[in-house]
Amino acid sequence: MKKDRIVELVSAPLVFLFSYTALSKLLDFNKFKYQLSQSPFIANSSGYIAWLIPFGEILISILLIRKRTRFAGLYFSFFLMLLFSGYLFIMLKYSSYLPCSCGGVLSSMSWKQHLVFNLVFTGLSLSGILIQNRNQTKNRII
């Protein structure tokens, strides 16, 4: 199978995840904003973050769909998933309470399940980056 095709296959679940969660958040925007405002670490800037996250996710989805911007999309998705995982880890470790501010069906997951879920998608983004990197290095050598 061509490397480009593999990278596209890796990107597809990420596109699904980001598009789905972004739309779920926007469809239930007031609830999402309220849940973010309950978070002990980001309560002060929850108004901005509530807009930033879904639109950031949509932007990453668009980057991942287009072949020319897929590599950048993989990098952004890796850092966003890493950020989400880090946030979950800090909340689990240091927060006295855990408000759920996740989109769609993800809100029915426990926080530990959510952390594992995020780490799987972080790994998926990283594998896409590595495959694409190897592909580009190979093309440069040829």
């Binding site: 596209e8 296959l9 990107s11 597809a12 679940p13 596109v15 699904f16 995840l17 980001f18 598009s19 789905y20 739309l23 779920s24 469809l27 609830k31 989805s61 991942l64 769909i65 072949k67 897929r70 689990l92 006295s96 309470y97 855990l98 408000p99 759920c100 769609g104 069906v105 809100s107 029915s108 997951m109 426990s110 926080w111 530990k112």
Partner: protein, 76 residues
């Protein structure tokens, strides 16, 4: 030749469809009754359970799905 639609684009379309199909269906919940301290069975959506029975901080177990031990409000 016409360019085929990419898998990533199909994934995006599927995600849009899934997001618009609301997943917030009513289910059977075992809720710790706030007044009597006894569990009560309610048939509500997760959102309704959160808003009606489990408002505020999430540091105590409040409700769980019957049949599936998936607690919605709990500090692990």
């Amino acid at each position: 030749m016409k360019k085929p639609i990419s898998i990533a684009a199909i994934a995006a379309l599927l995600a849009v469809g899934t997001a618009f199909t609301r997943t917030d269906q009513v289910q059977n919940w075992n809720v710790d009754h706030p007044q009597k301290g006894t569990p009560a069975i309610v048939w509500l959506s997760a959102d309704q359970v959160k808003n009606l029975y489990c408002p505020g901080v999430n540091n105590v177990e409040c409700a769980y799905l019957i049949g599936t031990p998936s607690t919605i409000i709990k500090k692990p």
